[in-house]
């Protein structure tokens, strides 16, 4: 199964035509040739792919680096089962 980083890379290359060599861990999302509307859609695709919900107040994420976005995704993915349990409880 592909890891989080590979899955994010697939979104960026396949849906948004970002050249692979520009997707470096320290690169900011805004430096990938994506405009503000693209970034909203990136977050939507991320949500769909990882079955998470990025909080509405996502301005900070749009300014984040790939590394920081990956950290956020991991954090939300890890929190998801706990939240589901809480909802079930």
């Amino acid at each position: 199964m592909p890891n989080t980083s590979e899955m994010l890379q697939t979104i960026l290359t396949e849906k948004f035509s970002v050249p692979e060599d520009r997707i470096r861990r320290e690169a900011k999302l805004t430096d990938l040739g994506l405009d503000s509307l693209d970034l909203i859609e990136v977050l939507f695709e991320v949500e769909d792919t990882f079955h998470i919900r990025v909080p509405q107040d996502s301005a900070a994420i749009k300014l984040a680096t790939i590394d920081e976005l990956l950290a956020t995704i991991t954090q939300l993915v890890d929190a998801a089962p706990a939240r589901r349990e809480a909802e079930a409880g």
Binding site: E14, K15, F16, S17, L37, D38, I40, E41, L43, F44, D48
Partner: protein, 413 residues
Amino acid sequence: MTDRRVVVTGIGAVSPLGSDPATLFQRLMNAESAVRAVSFEANGSYSNVAATVDYDLQTALQGRTPARLENLDRITQMAIVAARQAMAGSGAIVDDKSRHRMGVSFGTGMGSAAALEDTHQQIFARDPERVRPLTVLKVMNNSSAGHIAMQFGLAGPDLTYSCACASSAVAIGEAYRQIRHGYADVMLAGGGEASLTYSCFRSWDAMRVLAPMDAETPSATCRPFAKNRKGLVLGEGAAMVVLEERDHALRRGATIHAELAGYGSSNDHTHITRPSVEGQARAMELALADRKTPHCAIGYVNAHGTGTPMNDPTETLALKQVFGTDAFRIPVSSTKSMHGHLLGGAGALEFVISVLALTHRAIPPTANLDSADPACDLDYVPLHGREGIDLQSVLSNSFAFGGTNAVLLVSRA
């Protein structure tokens, strides 16, 4: 201000009868019909009849990212392709000096119908939490006009008109006024419709104005002016033209296809659907009076000719009211018999056909007209087109639900 005349320097069309104007006109002259059976497997195998565009829009629009292409509804995709054809043919130059005097005028009845339907499905039937983030921008009625302006960098007026089946005729007429009255030098004008969705078909069905499919020959379902006509047949597509101030076009040595020499606009004002002879006749008279074109100059009328029981005899009476006994001399045809009714896109497609009739010296036929309704007793160019016809001026009629009548008059340049 000096008298500013308006000419056509570029034409484009993505139609059920071909995705460029030349193919479209050739197939019309051959009396080919694009009308065929369509079905919706996902909706209980619902079926109907329509004239669809069979063209690879994805390939035509490559160069955009898949995400951005997905954000263009089918109508916008077709409109951009038609606009590109018109701009390429015109050779109009867009630069920092000219772009502020160049605009867009677009007409559509239903706009992004497929995107709207899909959004409703998403909200009501699938998952309202997962509505695509740029839905508003895809569905809004001026999406096509906005994307066309961006495509070419046009910074002048960017307008969208919605007047049902007269939408794109109005868009062309109002663009003509923008140039004539000095607000712009070049307008990329036209419109489109892409409403062949399940919910649109169901809504039209409910109104009982669609012709039921001709079981023997589906392509012959649309029969304007015929005794056995049973209603209209839906079509889809987009058509765009470059309108340009005449001296502006002459100075740059542009190829001038024709002059847009008149526009008439009126409303029936009595009933939301029932057409009025008086309203239609007034729109034609206004188009003729606009630049004082004599009635005798009209050598062809591209009729609104929907094929509904009400439209065709009413339009016939309106033509007689305007032209008197001369009405019997003028060939009148409904090309909707072949490309279907493009609703908001009809006026623009039929304007392009009218320009092509002038430049090709040829009149496309009314297909499927074996036997005319006695109440329709003009020369409807039945079954076969006519070539070698020396046309001076052509009228293109568009009449809409809501009562809007729009008539465009195009003359040899």
